[in-house]
């Protein structure tokens, strides 16, 4: 899979020669007509095995308690929170692509939005798992919700963890609605094209009576726009609130006002990296190069550079402020990150998040799908390491040297993490198999716009 380097600035977001029919045929055939490729079965088998690993790890976790993980005093949070932040961050690209780019009328978003939204949803599902699992007594997780308790007990609203509950549950709800509403016309297309009875019934129910009337389209457009408007602040708010989990704490390395913007940038950074990680193989396997064009990839690569630089600025500010504040604890933390026992993770993060992505300045690299894919994965790893450094390295040496300790993930930590990737991929494979990965309706609009431009 390689493309000749060429300028893609004005390149089409849909390769020429497509008609309404060809677009609908090509996208819906993945679900309805084409034989499920062998690769899908292999990929799904691997993903489901990892999902089983997750179930096993979670089962043992519920049986024994969080002590099977590497967490301890002083490192009370470990992989669970790292993974939570990582997954939530990954979700952000989907919302950004669907909502903000929609409102900004960036039409190049069209072919990747469905896919990115699904990714958001699945990432949030994975993320939502971890705060639950990391509780000492997970069966009482509902105490974090404001429900009418007979004893008149409420959550403690000063805690960022309660804010998290609201932020993440809102985010999950809006993302689900946004995705589902966007799917309606396509579900109707699938219903109409499906030949098997079961598919007809299931898609029929999901399409909620969509007939494609002008009223439907009018309400659909309005609702979609409204949801986009609702989702837009969430792009900023969710990770801001997640960053409060740390920024509200008084721990050196956590207690800093740069966290909200720096977390949001990091989230979008990791989200786009994940979209690239998934869409590059997808377009190759299913021959979707016409829809997910080089222009898409290049634009996303540019966003990677931009957000990556914001993140780098955040790192720089942290270091500067710890020196400028003349605070002994803060400065110790900065030194400890770079030269303490966890120095490899810090320098690996700098390498992955700052150094390597600079290659994207070169168009040759941006338009080389293999290189782009590798760099996207590197950024994903880097963003995970960033959270590792924030959570573990800040906690392991705080104020009183007597309490300093070390932390290492156990096999159960890794099993849960890898298992959550399994959950994500399993959902993704099901999505690819049963729903249109590219919005048929929106692609048809692109065809019509092109025809308008052509005439």
């Amino acid at each position: 899979v390689s493309d000749e380097p060429r300028s893609t600035a004005g390149a089409p977001v849909l390769e020429p020669g497509h008609t309404y029919r060809s677009v609908s045929d090509k996208i819906s055939s993945i679900v309805l007509a084409r034989r499920t490729p062998k690769e899908w079965f292999i990929g799904a088998a691997i993903s489901f095995s990892l999902l089983m690993l997750l179930l096993y790890a979670v089962g043992y976790l519920f049986l024994r308690g969080v002590g099977i993980w590497g967490i301890n005093q002083p490192v009370g949070w470990g992989f669970a929170i790292i993974n939570f932040v990582w997954w939530v961050g990954i979700g952000h690209a989907g919302t950004l692509i669907s909502a903000i780019l929609l409102l900004l009328r960036q039409e190049w978003r069209t072919s990747i939005n469905r896919f990115a939204e699904a990714m958001t949803l699945f990432a949030v599902a994975c993320a939502g798992l971890f705060p639950l699992l990391h509780l000492g007594r997970p069966w009482l997780a509902y105490w974090l919700f404001p429900y009418p308790d007979t004893m008149g007990l409420w959550p403690q609203f000063r805690s960022p963890l309660v804010w998290d509950v609201f932020a993440v549950s809102t985010y999950a709800t809006v993302s689900l609605l946004f995705w589902f509403v966007g799917l309606l016309p396509d579900l109707a297309t699938l219903r109409d094209r499906a030949r098997r009875r079961l598919a007809k019934v299931v898609y029929g129910i999901l399409a909620m009576g969509w007939r494609g009337s002008a009223t439907h389209w009018h309400r659909y457009e309005t609702a979609y726009l409204l949801l986009a408007g609702l989702a837009t602040p969430l792009v900023v708010s969710v990770h801001t609130v997640v960053s409060f989990d740390f920024a509200i704490g008084l721990l050196p390395g956590w207690h800093t006002t740069i966290f909200p913007p720096y977390f949001v940038a990091g989230a979008i950074y990791s989200g786009f990296a994940m979209v690239l990680t998934l869409s590059i193989p997808l377009r190759a396997f299913y021959g979707l190069e016409d829809f997910i064009t080089m222009r898409h990839l290049e634009n996303m690569a540019k966003i990677l550079i931009a957000t990556g630089l914001i993140v780098a600025y955040g790192y720089g500010t942290e270091i500067f402020m710890s020196w400028y504040s003349a605070n002994n604890f803060e400065w110790y933390l900065t030194m400890n990150r770079a030269f303490g026992p966890y120095w490899p993770s810090y320098w690996a993060l700098i390498l992955c998040n700052i150094a390597i992505p600079q290659l994207l300045w070169l168009r040759r690299i941006r338009t080389n799908t293999v290189m782009l894919w590798v760099i996207a994965i590197v950024v994903n790893v880097g963003m995970w390491l960033e959270r590792y450094v924030i959570v573990v390295v800040s906690l392991h040496r705080d104020f009183l040297p007597s309490s300093w300790g070390t932390y290492h993930g156990t096999r159960w930590d890794w099993a849960t993490y890898v298992g959550s990737i399994g959950l994500f991929l399993s959902l993704l494979f099901l999505f690819i198999r049963f729903l249109p990965v590219i919005s048929i309706a929106e692609m048809r609009m692109l065809v019509s716009e092109k025809e308008d431009q052509g005439s």
């Binding site: 024994r64 308690g65 969080v66 002590g67 099977i68 590497g70 967490i71 301890n72 005093q73 002083p74 490192v75 009370g76 949070w77 990391h134 509780l135 000492g136 007594r137 997970p138 009482l140 997780a141 105490w143 974090l144 007990l153 409420w154 959550p155 403690q156 000063r158 805690s159 960022p160 963890l161 309660v162 509950v165 989990d245 509200i248 704490g249 008084l250 721990l251 002994n328 604890f329 110790y332 906690l395 040496r397 705080d398 104020f399 009183l400 040297p401 007597s402 309490s403 300093w404 300790g405 070390t406 932390y407």
Partner: protein
């Protein structure tokens, strides 16, 4: 596991014999089998022979087989249980018993034979906590770690439960008749083959019983042996005075203390009292102009060295030259030919002693060689300290002997076949006896051996008869404190596992197997005090001591020490110093989880001992922490893990005794290495010419504090007395304190009381008593070595240890850290469910049943005092441990955060008491467990809003400071900065 080569009966074979039996027939059949030698052998091993071979292939069938065998055993032991003697008859409620309100009984606990007066807290007939007896001279209301941990020892589920003969379950009656038979033979021989082996005995009753026995059997011998005997004290006194005299130190009068070897603050029979007296002259308040000046020479850094103003590290062989040099320097000699550091120390100590005539004190530690004791006695006499800071009395020990000689004599007699019957009352000589005596081998030559002990140990394994011993909290007895004061030991509960006391076993020897220890002790005292016995008895029991029984002072002047040729320096190799372990002592406490998990004061190691050496020596030898090395001396070898300890003398290794037990319960199993294996009778203190060889192996040591430096942070704030006098407020100037109101959150106003704590770092000696007291009071679980390695120990109060100064001889600083009960607690704002909240009396409260376990509070706690139940740590299954729990404190389950509560249950109890009497809680009425246990009185607790309270006075001191106040946490626990002479 023993390496028995006798043919063994396995479970299969037993099962075969039992096959087809059921119901009553089953029992008879089992009894039949029980007579076979194979079955006895099967029982002798805690696990059947092939248990370890089963490995992972443990299938259902095997499981049922094992269960069948265990069931049968359970039945047998039930048969052997004695009818319980009721102590608290609930049919007629005892006077003063109110359900839910504890009663306190004055009794005593033996510590190395010497009485420590205690008050035992009893909840509805079960003792749950030990406190010191304020009236008792050895306690003054305080305790040490061992007294605190004895309550767990009482309820240890692995205590032995039944009399055994050759490992077979037997009965007390069978033993009595066996004893009668054995003594029948002895009577003819006039007792020539009878030997009794005890530890140190101060008990007037037991001593009288044994003396009577020996007079009945004139050929019999009474031998004494303890793993860590006080022979040097005895021999030193004989050298100086020609008699057995016990020095009674008065640290509260000693302006200059010179400690030569050992550690007077830990483990000696008088240590708890001495720590109190000692700290009284180390307390610094505004206007204090003088504090005692302390010089310590020691090998492995200990509490005395940590408390000292001037410490010198000296290998055990260097102690005598050092003491001689001190004596010479007091006489005016100027150069002693020692190392420069030692030379300076000696000169300063001599100046100090000379400058404080009759107010100085030279203390020789138990581990110091006898000659050093003699020099100390001589110096004290010469400097006029005798009669002032030290007086001499007869020893509290009955018929004192040198234990090393006594056990050697016994070993000789056993080897020569002169011993027919050996009765061992407590102790574990097979494990602790000098390695060169081969006590175990000689023991098997004795035809009739009986061993009385709390648990089945190495000695029980090699004796014919084992008798479960009644715990001091289960039986009557008596004893003398270090100063001779007599206490009566009264039981708090009937023997849980049907144990017998030493009194009862000796009575059985005298042909009275059915006499109870109550009768024996009471009869002894009714003979001693015939006039007004009932009143005497009642008063003695109520007070916990017999007044005016302290031994009278005897005038004594130490002779000038005879000059002995200095020991020739060992030709190469290392020196190894044998010291009792600060946690498990000589191994007696090896099965005690509280003590195993107690971080040792200086090393902060748990669950293991280690080959301690200086960092310099480790570097020279090319070893580092956790390297496994082989130590060989005199053809004996042990494998030990290395731990580097700053302040340890070079070219010397310290090995703590008491580990590497082979026959012990599950707690003490496979912990550490057996240093007794290297110790020989020629010198119980140390050995020279030890060869150390790296094995290449590694053994992880569970250390609770890895980092030693304060990193330039103002944690333990330190000044010399001069600096303090110039600037008493130095500590507060070391950190910024935001103003009240500098917070977004509203102030919480206290109602009624404002609880607070202050800890005096100048007097804290780091003895750990508070840590175990807290564990006992608050039902804190033991987590085990692996969990400590993972960083999950649960102590609510910990003693941080930092170093400052010269890395080769640093000054250790102890800082007890509890929950600070911050007025602006960072933990409270981050808890999503409000499981930790602020009370209206200033407490930061933990609501266990509301906690969901996010651990956010712990992350946000700058003091890291919160503890999380990562797994189900509390053993809620073992029946005997259920009795142990403090009923006023929730037993926490997994997934729940916990932390110091300022003993809120005691505050509540105090409030109820006060409200019943319609008054406010008085100062000193609510005492936290840590405060109560503290021998140095370094902790004060109370209502800080009450200006007259002790804690308010402490907090009003100029050198009172809070930890990390710049974070605006406003801690309620504050510290009085550490002030030393240097």
């Amino acid at each position: 596991m023993s390496e028995s080569t006798r043919p063994a009966l396995d479970v299969d074979a037993i099962r075969e014999r039992l096959a087809g039996e059921s119901g009553p027939r089953y029992w008879r059949s089992l009894e039949e089998i029980a007579q076979t030698p194979e079955f006895r052998d099967f029982l002798a091993h805690e696990f059947p022979e092939n248990a370890d071979q089963w490995g992972d292939a443990f299938n259902r069938r095997r499981f049922l087989q094992l269960m069948g065998a265990s069931f049968a055993l359970a039945g047998l032991s039930a048969c052997a249980r004695q009818p319980a003697e009721s102590i608290v008859p609930y049919a007629d409620a005892p006077e003063g018993l109110v359900a839910g309100r504890p009663l306190f009984f004055a009794t005593m606990l033996p510590w190395r034979g010497h009485a420590i007066g205690v008050l035992a807290e009893s909840h509805m007939g079960r003792p749950t906590k030990i406190e010191g007896n304020p009236d008792h001279p050895a306690s003054l209301g305080s305790t040490d770690v061992f007294a605190q941990a004895s309550i767990l020892q009482l309820y240890d589920p692995e205590r032995s439960r039944v009399v055994t003969r050759d490992g077979t379950i037997a009965t007390w009656d069978e033993l009595s008749s066996a004893l009668a038979t054995a003594l029948e033979g002895e009577r003819i021989r006039r007792g020539a083959g009878l030997r009794v082996l005890t530890g140190t005995v101060t008990s007037p009753t037991l001593a009288a019983q044994i003396r009577t026995l020996v007079s009945d059997f004139p050929g019999a011998r009474w031998h004494r042996w303890e793993g860590v005997p006080r022979d040097n004290v005895r021999a030193g006194s004989r050298m100086a005075f020609g008699a057995d005299l016990e020095p009674q130190y008065r640290f509260d009068r000693a302006d200059v203390v010179v400690s030569l070897g050992g550690d007077f603050l830990a483990g000696e029979p008088g240590s708890i009292r001495w720590a109190r007296d000692f700290s009284s002259l180390r307390r610094v308040r505004a206007g204090t102009t003088r504090m005692s000046r302390v010089f310590a020479a020691e090998c492995s850094p200990g509490l005395a060295g940590a408390a000292a103003d001037h410490r010198v590290a000296v290998a055990p062989s260097g102690l005598l030259p050092l003491a001689r040099a001190l004596a010479a320097a007091v006489d005016g000699a100027s150069s002693m030919g020692l190392a420069p550091a030692a030379e300076g120390w000696v000169a300063a100590a001599a100046r100090g002693l000379a400058g404080a005539p009759a107010r100085g004190l030279v203390v020789a530690g138990e581990s110091a060689p006898a000659h050093v004791h003699a020099i100390a006695h001589f110096l004290n006499g010469r400097l006029g300290n005798s009669g002032s800071t030290v007086v001499y009395t007869e020893p509290a020990e009955a018929d004192p002997v040198l234990h090393a000689e006594s056990i050697a004599e016994l070993a000789r007699d056993m080897a020569a076949g002169r011993v027919e019957s050996l009765v061992i009352l407590g102790g574990n000589p097979v494990y602790t006896a000098p390695a060169d005596l081969d006590f175990r081998g000689k023991l098997s030559k004795v035809p009739f051996t009986v061993h009385l002990s709390l648990e089945e140990d190495e000695t029980s394994e090699w004796c014919h008869w084992h008798v479960p011993q009644a715990h001091p909290l289960e039986s009557w007895g008596d004893g003398r404190a270090f100063d001779g004061t007599v206490s009566i030991q009264q039981p708090l509960i009937a023997p849980l596992f049907g144990g017998k006391s030493a009194h009862e076993l000796v009575a059985a020897l005298s042909g009275e197997p059915d006499r109870s220890s109550h009768e024996i002790v009471k009869e002894h005292w009714s003979k001693e005090r015939p006039a007004g016995f009932d009143a005497f008895w009642k008063k003695a029991l109520r007070d916990g001591l017999v007044p005016d029984t302290a031994l009278p002072a005897r005038a004594a002047t130490g002779r000038a020490p005879a000059s002995v040729a200095a020991a020739p320096p060992a030709g190469g190799g290392l020196e190894i110093s044998f010291a009792p372990d600060p946690s498990v002592w000589d191994g007696e406490w090896a099965n005690n989880g509280w003590l195993q998990e107690l971080p040792k004061p200086l090393t902060k190691l748990t669950w293991d001992n280690a080959a301690l050496m200086s960092p310099g020596t480790a570097k020279r030898l090319g070893v580092t922490d956790e390297d496994v090395v082989e130590l060989s001396a005199g053809g004996r070898t042990v494998k030990a893990a290395v731990w580097r300890l700053p302040g340890h003398p070079d070219d010397c290794v310290t090995a703590h005794l008491g580990y590497g037990r082979t026959r012990v319960g599950s707690v003490g199993r496979a912990a550490g290495f057996d240093a007794f294996a290297l110790r020989t009778s020629s010198n119980l203190g140390y050995a020279q010419g030890v060869v150390l060889r790296k094995t290449g192996g590694r053994h992880r040591l569970a250390c609770t504090q890895i980092h030693h430096s304060m990193e330039g942070r103002a944690l333990v704030r330190l000044a010399t007395l001069d600096e303090f006098r110039k600037n008493p407020g130095f500590a507060r100037e070391m950190e910024e304190q935001p103003a009240v109101g500098d917070s977004l959150y509203p102030e919480i106003k206290d109602e009624h009381y404002s609880w607070g704590m202050a800890i005096d770092l100048s007097t804290c000696i780091g003895c750990n008593a508070c840590v175990v007291a807290c564990q006992a009071e608050n039902n804190i679980p033991v987590v085990g070595r692996k969990q400590v390695l993972a960083g999950r120990e649960m102590h609510w109060i910990r003693i941080d240890r930092y170093y400052s100064g010269d890395p080769d001889n640093p000054v250790p600083h102890f800082e007890p850290v509890t929950c600070m009960h911050c007025e602006k607690a960072p933990c409270e704002v981050v808890c999503p469910v409000g499981a930790t909240i602020h009370s209206t009396e200033g407490l930061n409260e933990m609501i266990y049943n509301r906690c969901v376990g996010t651990r956010y509070c712990s992350n946000n706690c700058p003091y890291k005092v919160r503890r999380f139940n990562f797994l189900q740590y509390n053993d809620t299954k073992s029946p005997s441990l259920k009795l142990l729990r403090n009923p006023n404190v929730t037993v926490r389950s997994r997934g729940v955060m916990e932390k110091c509560s300022y003993c809120v249950q005691r505050i509540v109890a105090g409030r109820i008491e006060a409200e019943n009497q319609d008054r406010a809680i008085r100062d000193g009425e609510v005492v936290t467990a840590c405060q109560q246990a503290c021998p140095a009185r370094a902790i004060s607790f109370g209502d800080i809003a009450d200006r007259g309270s002790e804690v308010a006075h402490w907090k009003g001191e100029p050198h009172n400071y809070g930890l990390l106040t710049e974070l605006n946490t406003r801690p309620r626990t504050t510290y009085l900065a550490k002030v030393r002479n240097t």
